[in-house]
Amino acid sequence: MHKELSDLINRNVTGANAVAYLTADAKKFDSSITVETSHIYKVVEFLKTNKTTSFNSLHCISGVDYTDYMEVCYMLTNYDPSAVRNLTLKVRVTDRVNAAIDSVVGQFVSADFLEREVYDMFGIKFNNHPDMRRILCPDDWEGFPLRKDYVAQKDYNGMTVYPDNKMNMEDREFIVRQNMIKKAQAEKAQ
């Protein structure tokens, strides 16, 4: 099914370079189709409007950070019991500093909140999005939490992010302190 779909996409959207990733065990894992990042809007438009696969609902946009690249997965679906029901469409983003993809908000209104969440968590901006700002974190938060190289800021508006009195460092270092005390006592005894 994914092979036919990727061929269909390649025939109708030039430059999409759709590659189907088929898993060895379809009962355990999901297959997906990866397309060229710059053509995501055209691919999504084609998948929504053509007669064979009318994916008319976007349920989820999930970002994944593999450290050398970031992936954005679009979960498309339709409610027609006779057609192909679900599809995972993936695009890759390699630029971590100025990550940007075209927004699909023109085709699917649900992408509004979903893309804002991906921006908030991964820092991937979506071009032509009507309201590109953080949704879950506060508006002036620094950093993108779900990236693998994320380090939380020390201070936020005058409050410490990881205050010492709540980190329980004394309890974690109990045995280290006990050993140091014993060593000091042993040295004193000599």
Binding site: N165, K166, N168, D171, R172, F174, I175, Q178
Partner: protein, 169 residues
């Protein structure tokens, strides 16, 4: 968009609607009025009357430190890292005590602290304890004035004294 339906009603519709409104409200009020005499009250007068919790209820944790073999399984299973354990090897030639279910205690437990402010009362630590010394008691009234006093040191004598109340033979 909200569409308010405005139309002038006939006499029959007007009085019919009036009757519908009064009748449905009265039917509802009758249901509520029955609660005055026909339904037994479900409230219990806490704190004079306290509910008996079911056996499996997961309230405050209790660790029987005398039976702990320092395996640190509970600390590893805890999803919020609220258990801090430190132990050291027993000095040479000391007697190896046994736990209540027969296992040998080969390590001397020096620290067993649980930060009950972090604990999420999920019970994962109690399921992995091999000697079942870590259990959930039925205490739920343990609010404190400071966050630091929510750290329970299970080797302290006042907490060990809870054994008599909580551990059953």
């Amino acid at each position: 968009m909200n569409t308010q339906v405005h139309h002038t009603s006939s006499v029959k519709e007007y009085f019919g609607g009036l009757w519908d409104g009064i009748y449905s409200s009265l039917k509802g009020m009758w249901i509520t009025f029955r609660y005055v005499w026909a339904v037994a009250p479900v409230s219990i007068e806490y704190p004079e009357v306290r509910e008996v919790l079911p056996e499996r209820a997961r309230m405050r944790l209790f660790n029987d430190a005398l039976n702990c073999i320092s395996c640190t399984q509970c600390a590893m299973a805890c999803p919020v890292d609220c258990i801090y354990i430190a132990s050291e090897k027993l000095p040479e030639g000391s007697e190896i005590k046994k736990t209540s279910n027969g296992q040998a205690i080969r390590l001397h437990l020096t620290q067993f602290t649980i930060d009950t402010a972090l604990c999420c009362y999920c019970g994962l630590c109690t399921t992995v304890c091999p000697t079942e010394c870590l259990t959930h008691s039925h205490d739920y009234e343990f609010s404190a004035y400071t966050i630091d006093s929510m750290k329970y040191d299970y080797l302290a004598p006042d907490i060990v004294a809870w054994r008599d109340r909580i551990v059953k033979a």
